[in-house]
Protein backbone atom coordinates (compact mmCIF):
# COMPACT_ATOMS: atom_id res chain seq x y z
CA UNK A 1 0.00 0.00 0.00
CA UNK A 2 1.76 3.09 -1.10
CA UNK A 3 1.15 6.57 -2.24
CA UNK A 4 3.94 8.22 -4.21
CA UNK A 5 4.95 11.83 -3.92
CA UNK A 6 7.19 13.55 -6.41
CA UNK A 7 8.43 16.85 -5.13
CA UNK A 8 9.97 19.29 -7.59
CA UNK A 9 12.14 16.69 -9.30
CA UNK A 10 14.95 17.96 -11.49
CA UNK A 11 17.28 15.92 -13.61
CA UNK A 12 20.33 17.29 -15.36
CA UNK A 13 22.91 15.57 -17.48
CA UNK A 14 25.85 17.92 -17.17
CA UNK A 15 24.58 21.32 -18.26
CA UNK A 16 21.43 19.91 -19.91
CA UNK A 17 18.38 19.93 -17.71
CA UNK A 18 16.01 17.27 -19.03
CA UNK A 19 13.34 17.38 -16.30
CA UNK A 20 12.07 20.62 -14.79
CA UNK A 21 10.40 20.69 -11.38
CA UNK A 22 8.22 17.66 -11.85
CA UNK A 23 5.74 17.29 -9.02
CA UNK A 24 2.84 14.92 -8.44
CA UNK A 25 0.83 13.32 -5.67
CA UNK A 26 -0.16 9.80 -6.56
CA UNK A 27 -2.69 8.02 -4.43
CA UNK A 28 -2.53 4.47 -3.22
CA UNK A 29 -3.71 2.04 -5.88
CA UNK A 30 -3.85 4.62 -8.62
CA UNK A 31 -2.80 3.82 -12.18
CA UNK A 32 -0.80 6.75 -13.51
CA UNK A 33 0.28 7.00 -17.13
CA UNK A 34 3.16 9.23 -18.12
CA UNK A 35 2.75 10.17 -21.74
CA UNK A 36 4.60 12.42 -24.13
CA UNK A 37 6.59 12.48 -27.35
CA UNK A 38 9.94 10.76 -27.72
CA UNK A 39 12.75 12.33 -25.72
CA UNK A 40 10.50 14.27 -23.36
CA UNK A 41 11.96 12.56 -20.28
CA UNK A 42 9.36 9.86 -19.52
CA UNK A 43 11.85 7.06 -19.05
CA UNK A 44 14.18 9.30 -17.11
CA UNK A 45 11.40 10.20 -14.67
CA UNK A 46 10.38 6.57 -14.24
CA UNK A 47 13.98 5.50 -13.70
CA UNK A 48 14.44 8.17 -11.07
CA UNK A 49 11.46 6.74 -9.21
CA UNK A 50 12.94 3.27 -9.60
CA UNK A 51 16.31 4.41 -8.32
CA UNK A 52 18.15 3.53 -11.52
CA UNK A 53 18.94 7.17 -12.21
CA UNK A 54 20.30 9.64 -9.69
CA UNK A 55 18.11 12.56 -8.65
CA UNK A 56 19.70 15.94 -9.33
CA UNK A 57 17.35 17.68 -6.94
CA UNK A 58 13.91 17.19 -5.43
CA UNK A 59 12.43 14.29 -3.53
CA UNK A 60 10.71 11.01 -4.30
CA UNK A 61 8.71 9.42 -1.49
CA UNK A 62 7.03 6.06 -1.59
CA UNK A 63 4.59 5.18 1.16
CA UNK A 64 5.48 8.34 3.04
CA UNK A 65 9.21 7.56 3.13
CA UNK A 66 11.78 9.55 1.17
CA UNK A 67 13.63 7.03 -0.99
CA UNK A 68 16.20 9.28 -2.66
CA UNK A 69 19.11 7.48 -1.04
CA UNK A 70 17.78 3.93 -1.36
CA UNK A 71 18.96 1.28 -3.80
CA UNK A 72 16.30 0.09 -6.29
CA UNK A 73 16.05 -3.21 -4.44
CA UNK A 74 15.20 -1.42 -1.19
CA UNK A 75 12.42 0.72 -2.65
CA UNK A 76 9.95 -2.14 -2.83
CA UNK A 77 9.19 -1.61 -6.50
CA UNK A 78 9.07 -3.87 -9.53
CA UNK A 79 9.75 -2.77 -13.05
CA UNK A 80 8.78 -4.13 -16.46
CA UNK A 81 11.14 -3.08 -19.23
CA UNK A 82 10.40 -2.47 -22.89
CA UNK A 83 12.67 -5.36 -23.95
CA UNK A 84 11.55 -7.36 -20.87
CA UNK A 85 15.19 -7.91 -19.76
CA UNK A 86 14.53 -11.53 -18.84
CA UNK A 87 17.65 -13.47 -17.90
CA UNK A 88 18.21 -15.57 -21.04
CA UNK A 89 20.00 -18.44 -19.30
CA UNK A 90 17.34 -18.98 -16.66
CA UNK A 91 14.04 -20.77 -17.07
CA UNK A 92 10.81 -18.84 -16.67
CA UNK A 93 10.51 -20.24 -13.16
CA UNK A 94 14.04 -19.17 -12.23
CA UNK A 95 13.49 -15.77 -13.77
CA UNK A 96 10.48 -15.20 -11.58
CA UNK A 97 12.11 -16.65 -8.48
CA UNK A 98 15.45 -14.84 -8.74
CA UNK A 99 14.49 -11.72 -6.79
CA UNK A 100 12.84 -13.75 -4.05
CA UNK A 101 15.83 -16.07 -3.84
CA UNK A 102 18.18 -13.16 -3.30
CA UNK A 103 15.93 -11.87 -0.55
CA UNK A 104 16.21 -15.22 1.18
CA UNK A 105 12.54 -16.14 0.87
CA UNK A 106 12.01 -19.78 1.91
CA UNK A 107 11.87 -22.26 -0.97
CA UNK A 108 8.31 -23.38 -0.34
CA UNK A 109 7.12 -19.78 -0.24
CA UNK A 110 8.90 -19.00 -3.53
CA UNK A 111 7.33 -22.03 -5.22
CA UNK A 112 3.90 -21.03 -3.97
CA UNK A 113 4.20 -17.44 -5.17
CA UNK A 114 5.58 -18.41 -8.57
CA UNK A 115 2.72 -20.87 -8.98
CA UNK A 116 0.20 -18.25 -8.01
CA UNK A 117 1.60 -15.66 -10.40
CA UNK A 118 1.79 -18.25 -13.16
CA UNK A 119 -1.88 -19.01 -12.70
CA UNK A 120 -2.91 -15.37 -12.77
CA UNK A 121 -0.97 -14.81 -15.99
CA UNK A 122 -1.69 -18.23 -17.51
CA UNK A 123 1.96 -19.05 -18.04
CA UNK A 124 1.95 -22.27 -16.02
CA UNK A 125 2.51 -24.36 -19.13
CA UNK A 126 5.96 -22.99 -19.87
CA UNK A 127 7.52 -22.44 -16.48
CA UNK A 128 10.44 -24.64 -17.43
CA UNK A 129 11.18 -23.03 -20.79
CA UNK A 130 13.92 -20.53 -21.49
CA UNK A 131 12.85 -17.03 -22.57
CA UNK A 132 14.09 -17.59 -26.14
CA UNK A 133 11.60 -20.44 -26.48
CA UNK A 134 8.69 -18.06 -25.91
CA UNK A 135 6.78 -15.72 -28.18
CA UNK A 136 6.88 -11.98 -27.61
CA UNK A 137 3.51 -11.98 -25.87
CA UNK A 138 4.52 -14.83 -23.60
CA UNK A 139 7.76 -13.07 -22.68
CA UNK A 140 5.71 -10.02 -21.85
CA UNK A 141 3.65 -12.12 -19.45
CA UNK A 142 6.76 -13.56 -17.85
CA UNK A 143 8.10 -10.05 -17.34
CA UNK A 144 4.80 -9.19 -15.64
CA UNK A 145 5.05 -12.36 -13.61
CA UNK A 146 8.50 -11.46 -12.43
CA UNK A 147 7.07 -8.17 -11.22
CA UNK A 148 4.06 -9.55 -9.41
CA UNK A 149 5.74 -12.44 -7.54
CA UNK A 150 7.67 -9.87 -5.62
CA UNK A 151 4.41 -8.40 -4.30
CA UNK A 152 5.83 -4.87 -4.44
CA UNK A 153 4.30 -1.59 -3.36
CA UNK A 154 4.70 -0.07 -6.80
CA UNK A 155 4.74 -1.33 -10.38
CA UNK A 156 6.74 0.64 -12.91
CA UNK A 157 6.26 0.00 -16.62
CA UNK A 158 8.46 1.47 -19.34
CA UNK A 159 6.63 1.05 -22.65
CA UNK A 160 6.10 -2.66 -22.02
CA UNK A 161 3.72 -3.12 -24.95
CA UNK A 162 5.61 -1.44 -27.75
CA UNK A 163 7.26 -4.65 -28.98
CA UNK A 164 3.95 -6.42 -29.51
CA UNK A 165 1.77 -6.43 -32.59
CA UNK A 166 -1.29 -4.21 -32.65
CA UNK A 167 -3.85 -6.83 -31.71
CA UNK A 168 -1.85 -8.29 -28.86
CA UNK A 169 -1.13 -4.81 -27.62
CA UNK A 170 -4.82 -4.08 -27.21
CA UNK A 171 -5.36 -7.40 -25.46
CA UNK A 172 -2.40 -6.99 -23.06
CA UNK A 173 -3.46 -3.43 -22.36
CA UNK A 174 -6.79 -4.67 -21.06
CA UNK A 175 -5.13 -7.43 -19.08
CA UNK A 176 -2.69 -5.08 -17.43
CA UNK A 177 -5.57 -2.82 -16.52
CA UNK A 178 -7.58 -5.69 -15.02
CA UNK A 179 -4.58 -7.08 -13.19
CA UNK A 180 -3.74 -3.73 -11.70
CA UNK A 181 -7.30 -3.21 -10.46
CA UNK A 182 -7.33 -6.72 -9.04
CA UNK A 183 -4.02 -6.40 -7.20
CA UNK A 184 -4.60 -2.76 -6.29
CA UNK A 185 -0.91 -1.92 -6.58
CA UNK A 186 0.02 1.68 -7.30
CA UNK A 187 1.36 1.73 -10.85
CA UNK A 188 3.18 4.10 -13.13
CA UNK A 189 3.13 3.33 -16.82
CA UNK A 190 5.16 5.11 -19.46
CA UNK A 191 4.00 5.25 -23.06
CA UNK A 192 4.10 7.54 -26.04
CA UNK A 193 0.80 6.17 -27.35
CA UNK A 194 -2.07 8.44 -26.37
CA UNK A 195 -4.73 5.78 -26.92
CA UNK A 196 -2.89 3.46 -24.54
CA UNK A 197 -2.60 6.34 -22.10
CA UNK A 198 -6.31 7.23 -22.28
CA UNK A 199 -7.49 3.65 -21.83
CA UNK A 200 -5.11 2.63 -19.05
CA UNK A 201 -4.71 5.59 -16.78
CA UNK A 202 -6.75 6.74 -13.84
CA UNK A 203 -4.77 9.91 -14.34
CA UNK A 204 -2.38 11.01 -17.04
CA UNK A 205 0.74 13.10 -16.75
CA UNK A 206 1.52 14.76 -20.06
CA UNK A 207 5.22 15.58 -20.36
CA UNK A 208 6.70 17.80 -23.01
CA UNK A 209 10.37 18.75 -23.15
CA UNK A 210 10.82 17.88 -19.49
CA UNK A 211 7.88 19.99 -18.28
CA UNK A 212 4.60 18.64 -16.93
CA UNK A 213 2.02 20.12 -19.27
CA UNK A 214 -0.97 18.75 -17.42
CA UNK A 215 -1.82 16.10 -14.86
CA UNK A 216 -5.40 14.90 -14.70
CA UNK A 217 -7.98 12.28 -15.61
CA UNK A 218 -8.28 11.30 -19.27
CA UNK A 219 -11.63 13.07 -19.54
CA UNK A 220 -10.29 16.27 -17.98
CA UNK A 221 -7.46 16.23 -20.46
CA UNK A 222 -9.83 15.68 -23.33
CA UNK A 223 -12.45 18.18 -22.28
CA UNK A 224 -10.26 20.87 -20.88
CA UNK A 225 -6.68 20.69 -22.12
CA UNK A 226 -4.59 23.32 -20.38
CA UNK A 227 -2.20 23.92 -23.25
CA UNK A 228 -2.11 23.70 -27.03
CA UNK A 229 0.33 20.82 -26.65
CA UNK A 230 -2.03 18.71 -24.55
CA UNK A 231 -4.94 19.61 -26.81
CA UNK A 232 -3.03 18.39 -29.84
CA UNK A 233 -1.60 15.33 -28.12
CA UNK A 234 -4.74 13.89 -26.53
CA UNK A 235 -7.49 12.79 -28.88
CA UNK A 236 -7.35 11.19 -32.28
CA UNK A 237 -7.53 12.62 -34.86
CA UNK A 238 -5.87 15.62 -33.28
CA UNK A 239 -7.68 18.86 -32.50
CA UNK A 240 -7.84 21.51 -35.25
CA UNK A 241 -6.04 24.73 -34.47
CA UNK A 242 -7.00 27.92 -36.31
CA UNK A 243 -5.16 31.19 -35.82
CA UNK A 244 -7.75 33.84 -34.95
CA UNK A 245 -8.39 37.23 -33.45
CA UNK A 246 -10.70 37.60 -30.44
CA UNK A 247 -12.65 40.76 -29.86
CA UNK A 248 -14.63 40.28 -26.66
CA UNK A 249 -17.35 37.99 -27.93
CA UNK A 250 -16.47 37.58 -31.58
CA UNK A 251 -13.76 35.31 -32.97
CA UNK A 252 -12.49 36.28 -36.40
CA UNK A 253 -10.71 33.53 -38.35
CA UNK A 254 -7.84 34.12 -40.75
CA UNK A 255 -10.19 34.14 -43.77
CA UNK A 256 -12.24 36.93 -42.24
CA UNK A 257 -15.17 34.80 -41.17
CA UNK A 258 -16.47 35.55 -37.70
CA UNK A 259 -18.27 33.42 -35.20
CA UNK A 260 -19.56 34.17 -31.74
CA UNK A 261 -17.44 33.08 -28.77
CA UNK A 262 -14.52 34.12 -26.57
CA UNK A 263 -16.46 36.32 -24.13
CA UNK A 264 -14.13 38.85 -22.59
CA UNK A 265 -11.06 37.78 -24.54
CA UNK A 266 -9.17 40.16 -26.77
CA UNK A 267 -6.12 39.80 -29.02
CA UNK A 268 -4.45 37.05 -30.98
CA UNK A 269 -5.57 33.58 -30.04
CA UNK A 270 -5.44 30.00 -31.23
CA UNK A 271 -8.93 28.71 -31.76
CA UNK A 272 -9.22 24.96 -31.19
CA UNK A 273 -12.04 22.60 -32.07
CA UNK A 274 -11.97 18.81 -32.25
CA UNK A 275 -12.79 17.09 -35.56
CA UNK A 276 -15.68 15.21 -33.97
CA UNK A 277 -17.25 18.42 -32.65
CA UNK A 278 -17.81 20.09 -36.01
CA UNK A 279 -21.42 19.67 -37.11
CA UNK A 280 -22.60 19.90 -40.71
CA UNK A 281 -24.65 23.05 -41.07
CA UNK A 282 -25.36 24.74 -44.40
CA UNK A 283 -25.10 28.15 -42.76
CA UNK A 284 -22.11 27.22 -40.57
CA UNK A 285 -19.23 29.68 -40.36
CA UNK A 286 -16.44 27.14 -40.79
CA UNK A 287 -16.11 26.52 -44.50
CA UNK A 288 -13.83 23.64 -45.39
CA UNK A 289 -12.48 23.01 -48.86
CA UNK A 290 -12.18 19.22 -49.16
CA UNK A 291 -8.87 17.71 -50.23
CA UNK A 292 -9.11 14.02 -49.38
CA UNK A 293 -11.25 11.83 -47.19
CA UNK A 294 -10.64 8.60 -45.33
CA UNK A 295 -13.54 6.20 -44.90
CA UNK A 296 -12.98 4.30 -41.66
CA UNK A 297 -16.28 2.48 -41.69
CA UNK A 298 -17.79 3.82 -38.50
CA UNK A 299 -16.92 7.35 -39.49
CA UNK A 300 -15.34 9.36 -42.27
CA UNK A 301 -12.41 11.71 -41.84
CA UNK A 302 -12.51 14.67 -44.18
CA UNK A 303 -9.18 16.45 -44.67
CA UNK A 304 -9.24 19.91 -46.09
CA UNK A 305 -8.26 23.53 -45.63
CA UNK A 306 -10.15 26.44 -44.21
CA UNK A 307 -11.54 28.13 -47.29
CA UNK A 308 -9.35 31.01 -48.42
CA UNK A 309 -6.38 30.03 -46.23
CA UNK A 310 -3.96 27.13 -46.11
CA UNK A 311 -4.71 26.15 -42.53
CA UNK A 312 -5.38 22.43 -42.53
CA UNK A 313 -8.48 21.04 -40.93
CA UNK A 314 -9.91 17.60 -40.21
CA UNK A 315 -13.58 16.85 -39.75
CA UNK A 316 -14.89 13.56 -38.44
CA UNK A 317 -18.35 12.65 -39.72
CA UNK A 318 -20.40 9.70 -38.53
CA UNK A 319 -21.25 7.07 -41.12
CA UNK A 320 -20.35 6.95 -44.81
CA UNK A 321 -19.88 10.25 -46.53
CA UNK A 322 -18.32 10.70 -49.93
CA UNK A 323 -17.46 14.35 -50.38
CA UNK A 324 -15.90 15.41 -53.68
CA UNK A 325 -12.42 16.94 -53.46
CA UNK A 326 -12.63 20.66 -54.18
CA UNK A 327 -16.12 21.00 -52.72
CA UNK A 328 -16.68 23.43 -49.90
CA UNK A 329 -18.53 22.05 -46.88
CA UNK A 330 -19.91 24.19 -44.12
CA UNK A 331 -19.79 23.35 -40.44
CA UNK A 332 -20.88 24.90 -37.21
CA UNK A 333 -18.75 24.73 -34.07
CA UNK A 334 -20.99 24.74 -30.97
CA UNK A 335 -19.72 27.11 -28.32
CA UNK A 336 -19.35 24.51 -25.59
CA UNK A 337 -16.69 22.77 -27.69
CA UNK A 338 -14.50 25.79 -28.27
CA UNK A 339 -10.98 25.77 -26.90
CA UNK A 340 -9.20 29.09 -26.82
CA UNK A 341 -5.48 29.36 -26.25
CA UNK A 342 -3.12 32.28 -26.04
CA UNK A 343 -1.41 32.56 -29.43
CA UNK A 344 1.95 33.31 -27.82
CA UNK A 345 2.22 31.02 -24.80
CA UNK A 346 -0.18 28.29 -25.87
CA UNK A 347 -1.87 28.39 -22.45
CA UNK A 348 -5.63 27.96 -22.19
CA UNK A 349 -7.51 31.24 -21.75
CA UNK A 350 -11.12 30.27 -22.13
CA UNK A 351 -13.66 29.01 -21.57
Amino acid sequence: MAEIKLDSLIKSYGPDQVLHHVGADIEDGEFIVIVGPSGCGKSTLLRMIAGLETITSGEVSIGGKVVNGLEPADRDIAMVFQNYALYPHMSVRQNMAYGLKIRGTPKAEIARRVQEAAEILEIGAFLDRKPRQLSGGQRQRVAMGRAIVRDPQVFLFDEPLSNLDAKLRVQMRLEIRKLQKRLGVTSIFVTHDQVEAMTLGDRLMVLNGGYVEQFGTPIELYDRPETVFVAGFIGSPAMNFLPAEADGGVVTLANGVSLPGAEGVRGKITFGVRPEHLVPDAAGPIRVQVQVFEALGANTLVHGVLEGTDTELVVSLPGHETPTPGDVLCYAAPGEHHHLFDAESGARIAP
Binding site: E71, M79, A85, G99, R132
Partner: protein, 283 residues
Protein backbone atom coordinates in the same frame (compact mmCIF):
# COMPACT_ATOMS: atom_id res chain seq x y z
CA UNK B 1 28.06 -21.84 -53.63
CA UNK B 2 25.16 -23.36 -55.43
CA UNK B 3 27.06 -24.25 -58.59
CA UNK B 4 25.89 -27.55 -60.02
CA UNK B 5 28.58 -28.21 -62.62
CA UNK B 6 30.34 -31.54 -62.04
CA UNK B 7 33.66 -30.23 -63.41
CA UNK B 8 33.66 -27.54 -60.78
CA UNK B 9 32.94 -30.03 -58.02
CA UNK B 10 35.83 -32.22 -59.10
CA UNK B 11 38.26 -29.30 -59.15
CA UNK B 12 37.05 -28.17 -55.75
CA UNK B 13 37.61 -31.63 -54.34
CA UNK B 14 41.07 -31.93 -55.82
CA UNK B 15 42.06 -28.64 -54.23
CA UNK B 16 40.61 -29.69 -50.89
CA UNK B 17 42.26 -33.11 -50.94
CA UNK B 18 45.57 -31.50 -51.81
CA UNK B 19 45.14 -29.14 -48.84
CA UNK B 20 44.32 -31.98 -46.48
CA UNK B 21 47.33 -33.97 -47.70
CA UNK B 22 49.59 -30.99 -47.18
CA UNK B 23 48.48 -30.64 -43.57
CA UNK B 24 48.26 -34.34 -42.82
CA UNK B 25 51.56 -35.48 -44.33
CA UNK B 26 53.86 -34.26 -41.52
CA UNK B 27 51.51 -35.79 -38.96
CA UNK B 28 51.59 -39.06 -40.88
CA UNK B 29 55.38 -39.05 -41.03
CA UNK B 30 55.53 -38.41 -37.31
CA UNK B 31 53.19 -41.29 -36.69
CA UNK B 32 55.16 -43.61 -38.98
CA UNK B 33 58.43 -42.54 -37.39
CA UNK B 34 57.03 -43.32 -33.97
CA UNK B 35 56.23 -46.88 -34.98
CA UNK B 36 59.66 -48.15 -36.11
CA UNK B 37 62.73 -48.96 -34.09
CA UNK B 38 65.57 -46.50 -33.81
CA UNK B 39 67.88 -48.30 -36.25
CA UNK B 40 65.28 -48.38 -39.05
CA UNK B 41 64.77 -44.65 -38.74
CA UNK B 42 68.40 -43.97 -39.55
CA UNK B 43 68.39 -45.87 -42.87
CA UNK B 44 67.46 -44.14 -46.09
CA UNK B 45 64.86 -43.98 -47.44
CA UNK B 46 62.76 -43.25 -44.39
CA UNK B 47 59.74 -45.56 -44.16
CA UNK B 48 56.35 -44.35 -45.42
CA UNK B 49 54.28 -47.10 -43.77
CA UNK B 50 53.87 -47.81 -40.05
CA UNK B 51 56.07 -50.43 -38.39
CA UNK B 52 55.33 -52.68 -35.43
CA UNK B 53 57.24 -50.88 -32.70
CA UNK B 54 54.55 -48.33 -31.81
CA UNK B 55 53.63 -49.62 -28.36
CA UNK B 56 57.22 -50.44 -27.46
CA UNK B 57 58.21 -46.88 -28.35
CA UNK B 58 55.24 -45.54 -26.46
CA UNK B 59 56.20 -47.42 -23.30
CA UNK B 60 59.83 -46.43 -23.58
CA UNK B 61 59.07 -42.78 -24.24
CA UNK B 62 56.30 -42.35 -21.76
CA UNK B 63 57.86 -44.03 -18.77
CA UNK B 64 61.57 -44.28 -19.67
CA UNK B 65 64.17 -42.01 -18.16
CA UNK B 66 64.25 -40.02 -21.40
CA UNK B 67 67.10 -40.07 -23.87
CA UNK B 68 70.61 -40.92 -22.80
CA UNK B 69 72.66 -37.78 -22.52
CA UNK B 70 69.73 -35.43 -23.25
CA UNK B 71 69.12 -34.63 -19.58
CA UNK B 72 65.38 -34.89 -20.02
CA UNK B 73 62.79 -36.24 -17.62
CA UNK B 74 60.36 -38.99 -18.59
CA UNK B 75 57.79 -37.71 -21.02
CA UNK B 76 54.81 -38.25 -18.71
CA UNK B 77 56.40 -35.84 -16.28
CA UNK B 78 56.97 -33.22 -18.95
CA UNK B 79 53.43 -33.68 -20.17
CA UNK B 80 52.25 -33.10 -16.65
CA UNK B 81 54.34 -29.93 -16.45
CA UNK B 82 52.95 -28.71 -19.76
CA UNK B 83 49.44 -29.52 -18.63
CA UNK B 84 49.83 -27.58 -15.39
CA UNK B 85 51.35 -24.66 -17.23
CA UNK B 86 48.71 -24.59 -19.95
CA UNK B 87 45.86 -24.92 -17.45
CA UNK B 88 47.25 -22.23 -15.15
CA UNK B 89 47.74 -19.87 -18.07
CA UNK B 90 44.31 -20.51 -19.57
CA UNK B 91 42.37 -20.40 -16.31
CA UNK B 92 44.41 -17.52 -14.93
CA UNK B 93 44.07 -15.45 -18.07
CA UNK B 94 40.33 -16.03 -18.21
CA UNK B 95 39.80 -15.24 -14.53
CA UNK B 96 41.85 -12.06 -14.62
CA UNK B 97 40.41 -10.85 -17.91
CA UNK B 98 36.84 -11.49 -16.77
CA UNK B 99 37.38 -9.46 -13.64
CA UNK B 100 39.18 -6.60 -15.33
CA UNK B 101 36.58 -6.42 -18.10
CA UNK B 102 33.87 -6.46 -15.42
CA UNK B 103 35.56 -3.56 -13.63
CA UNK B 104 36.04 -1.54 -16.80
CA UNK B 105 32.53 -2.02 -18.14
CA UNK B 106 30.41 -1.85 -15.01
CA UNK B 107 32.21 0.40 -12.54
CA UNK B 108 32.93 4.08 -12.57
CA UNK B 109 36.23 4.78 -10.86
CA UNK B 110 38.83 7.51 -11.23
CA UNK B 111 41.12 7.09 -14.24
CA UNK B 112 38.96 4.34 -15.66
CA UNK B 113 39.95 5.28 -19.19
CA UNK B 114 43.57 5.52 -18.02
CA UNK B 115 43.48 1.91 -16.88
CA UNK B 116 41.74 0.93 -20.06
CA UNK B 117 44.57 2.38 -22.13
CA UNK B 118 47.18 0.91 -19.81
CA UNK B 119 45.80 -2.54 -20.54
CA UNK B 120 45.63 -1.66 -24.19
CA UNK B 121 49.31 -0.69 -24.26
CA UNK B 122 50.37 -4.08 -22.87
CA UNK B 123 49.23 -5.49 -26.21
CA UNK B 124 52.38 -3.99 -27.62
CA UNK B 125 54.55 -5.74 -25.04
CA UNK B 126 54.37 -9.52 -25.46
CA UNK B 127 56.79 -11.69 -23.51
CA UNK B 128 59.38 -11.72 -26.27
CA UNK B 129 59.77 -7.94 -26.09
CA UNK B 130 60.07 -7.68 -22.32
CA UNK B 131 61.88 -10.94 -21.83
CA UNK B 132 65.01 -9.62 -20.09
CA UNK B 133 63.32 -7.48 -17.43
CA UNK B 134 60.68 -10.13 -16.88
CA UNK B 135 63.35 -12.77 -16.40
CA UNK B 136 65.10 -10.49 -13.94
CA UNK B 137 61.92 -10.01 -11.93
CA UNK B 138 61.07 -13.68 -11.92
CA UNK B 139 64.62 -14.58 -10.90
CA UNK B 140 64.62 -12.00 -8.08
CA UNK B 141 61.33 -13.36 -6.81
CA UNK B 142 62.91 -16.80 -6.70
CA UNK B 143 60.39 -18.22 -9.12
CA UNK B 144 62.84 -19.89 -11.51
CA UNK B 145 62.08 -23.57 -12.00
CA UNK B 146 58.58 -23.29 -10.57
CA UNK B 147 55.07 -23.41 -11.97
CA UNK B 148 54.53 -19.83 -10.84
CA UNK B 149 57.56 -18.69 -12.77
CA UNK B 150 56.31 -20.54 -15.82
CA UNK B 151 52.86 -19.00 -15.77
CA UNK B 152 52.55 -15.72 -13.89
CA UNK B 153 54.42 -13.54 -16.42
CA UNK B 154 52.17 -14.87 -19.19
CA UNK B 155 48.87 -14.56 -17.39
CA UNK B 156 47.86 -10.93 -17.96
CA UNK B 157 45.99 -10.72 -21.22
CA UNK B 158 44.84 -7.58 -22.95
CA UNK B 159 43.26 -9.53 -25.78
CA UNK B 160 41.04 -11.59 -23.51
CA UNK B 161 40.12 -8.49 -21.51
CA UNK B 162 38.98 -6.79 -24.69
CA UNK B 163 37.07 -9.80 -25.80
CA UNK B 164 35.14 -9.98 -22.54
CA UNK B 165 34.62 -6.24 -22.61
CA UNK B 166 33.00 -6.65 -26.01
CA UNK B 167 30.86 -9.51 -24.71
CA UNK B 168 29.71 -7.48 -21.72
CA UNK B 169 28.91 -4.49 -23.88
CA UNK B 170 26.48 -6.59 -25.91
CA UNK B 171 24.52 -7.45 -22.76
CA UNK B 172 21.72 -4.86 -22.53
CA UNK B 173 21.85 -2.39 -19.64
CA UNK B 174 18.37 -3.49 -18.63
CA UNK B 175 19.85 -6.82 -17.57
CA UNK B 176 21.94 -5.05 -14.96
CA UNK B 177 19.06 -2.83 -13.97
CA UNK B 178 16.66 -5.66 -13.55
CA UNK B 179 19.25 -7.51 -11.46
CA UNK B 180 19.62 -4.40 -9.33
CA UNK B 181 15.87 -4.25 -8.81
CA UNK B 182 15.95 -7.94 -7.92
CA UNK B 183 18.50 -7.02 -5.28
CA UNK B 184 21.64 -8.57 -6.76
CA UNK B 185 24.87 -6.87 -5.70
CA UNK B 186 27.79 -6.51 -8.12
CA UNK B 187 29.46 -9.86 -7.42
CA UNK B 188 26.16 -11.64 -7.42
CA UNK B 189 25.38 -10.11 -10.80
CA UNK B 190 28.80 -11.25 -11.99
CA UNK B 191 28.27 -14.85 -10.86
CA UNK B 192 24.59 -15.27 -11.61
CA UNK B 193 24.24 -13.30 -14.81
CA UNK B 194 27.51 -12.31 -16.46
CA UNK B 195 29.34 -15.63 -16.11
CA UNK B 196 26.54 -17.81 -17.47
CA UNK B 197 25.98 -15.38 -20.32
CA UNK B 198 29.68 -15.50 -21.24
CA UNK B 199 29.88 -19.27 -20.92
CA UNK B 200 30.36 -20.00 -24.60
CA UNK B 201 32.90 -17.23 -24.99
CA UNK B 202 34.83 -18.57 -22.02
CA UNK B 203 34.90 -22.01 -23.62
CA UNK B 204 36.13 -20.64 -26.93
CA UNK B 205 38.80 -18.62 -25.23
CA UNK B 206 39.83 -21.57 -23.11
CA UNK B 207 40.58 -23.62 -26.21
CA UNK B 208 42.69 -20.87 -27.72
CA UNK B 209 44.53 -20.07 -24.51
CA UNK B 210 45.16 -23.68 -23.58
CA UNK B 211 46.87 -24.25 -26.90
CA UNK B 212 48.74 -20.97 -26.53
CA UNK B 213 50.00 -22.10 -23.11
CA UNK B 214 50.78 -25.61 -24.22
CA UNK B 215 52.86 -24.39 -27.15
CA UNK B 216 54.96 -21.93 -25.13
CA UNK B 217 58.60 -22.42 -26.04
CA UNK B 218 60.86 -19.44 -25.43
CA UNK B 219 59.78 -18.60 -21.89
CA UNK B 220 59.90 -22.13 -20.43
CA UNK B 221 63.23 -22.66 -22.16
CA UNK B 222 64.64 -19.63 -20.36
CA UNK B 223 63.42 -20.16 -16.87
CA UNK B 224 63.55 -23.92 -16.44
CA UNK B 225 67.00 -25.39 -15.91
CA UNK B 226 65.82 -28.29 -13.79
CA UNK B 227 64.91 -31.23 -16.07
CA UNK B 228 62.01 -32.06 -13.75
CA UNK B 229 60.37 -28.75 -14.61
CA UNK B 230 60.86 -28.97 -18.35
CA UNK B 231 57.81 -28.86 -20.64
CA UNK B 232 57.26 -31.27 -23.48
CA UNK B 233 57.53 -28.71 -26.28
CA UNK B 234 60.93 -27.58 -25.03
CA UNK B 235 62.07 -31.17 -24.58
CA UNK B 236 61.63 -32.04 -28.25
CA UNK B 237 64.25 -29.49 -29.13
CA UNK B 238 66.52 -30.71 -26.32
CA UNK B 239 66.27 -34.29 -27.59
CA UNK B 240 67.41 -33.25 -31.05
CA UNK B 241 70.50 -31.76 -29.54
CA UNK B 242 71.25 -34.73 -27.29
CA UNK B 243 75.01 -34.74 -27.05
CA UNK B 244 77.40 -37.36 -28.48
CA UNK B 245 74.69 -39.33 -30.10
CA UNK B 246 72.72 -39.65 -33.29
CA UNK B 247 69.13 -38.50 -32.78
CA UNK B 248 66.75 -41.31 -31.79
CA UNK B 249 64.04 -40.42 -34.23
CA UNK B 250 61.57 -43.02 -33.05
CA UNK B 251 61.55 -41.56 -29.53
CA UNK B 252 61.51 -37.97 -30.74
CA UNK B 253 58.60 -38.65 -33.08
CA UNK B 254 56.71 -40.39 -30.33
CA UNK B 255 57.26 -37.39 -28.06
CA UNK B 256 56.03 -35.05 -30.76
CA UNK B 257 52.99 -37.23 -31.23
CA UNK B 258 52.28 -37.21 -27.50
CA UNK B 259 52.66 -33.45 -27.44
CA UNK B 260 49.79 -33.17 -29.91
CA UNK B 261 47.34 -35.23 -27.92
CA UNK B 262 46.16 -32.90 -25.11
CA UNK B 263 45.35 -29.94 -27.39
CA UNK B 264 43.35 -32.30 -29.59
CA UNK B 265 41.42 -33.48 -26.55
CA UNK B 266 40.69 -29.94 -25.46
CA UNK B 267 39.43 -29.02 -28.91
CA UNK B 268 37.20 -32.08 -29.14
CA UNK B 269 35.84 -31.66 -25.62
CA UNK B 270 35.07 -27.97 -26.10
CA UNK B 271 33.94 -28.18 -29.71
CA UNK B 272 30.23 -28.16 -29.01
CA UNK B 273 30.39 -25.12 -26.76
CA UNK B 274 32.86 -23.47 -29.10
CA UNK B 275 30.54 -23.72 -32.09
CA UNK B 276 27.59 -22.71 -29.97
CA UNK B 277 29.51 -19.63 -28.94
CA UNK B 278 29.90 -18.65 -32.55
CA UNK B 279 26.36 -19.40 -33.73
CA UNK B 280 24.01 -18.79 -30.84
CA UNK B 281 22.85 -15.30 -30.09
CA UNK B 282 21.25 -15.54 -26.76
CA UNK B 283 21.53 -12.11 -25.23
Amino acid sequence: MVEKRPGFTIVAHIVLIFGVALVALPVWITFVGASHDGARMLQAPIPMWPGDQFFENLRQTFFGRGLDGSRTAPVWMMMFNSLVMAMMIAVGKIAISLLSAFAIVYFKFPFRMGFFWLIFITLMLPVEVRILPTFEVVADLGMLNSYWGLTVPLIASATATFMFRQVFLTIPDEMLESARIDGAGPMRFFWDILLPLSRTNIAALFVILFIYGWNQYLWPLLITTDPDMMTIVVSIKQMLEASEQTPQWNIIMMTALLAMVPPIFVVIAMQKLFVKGLTETDK
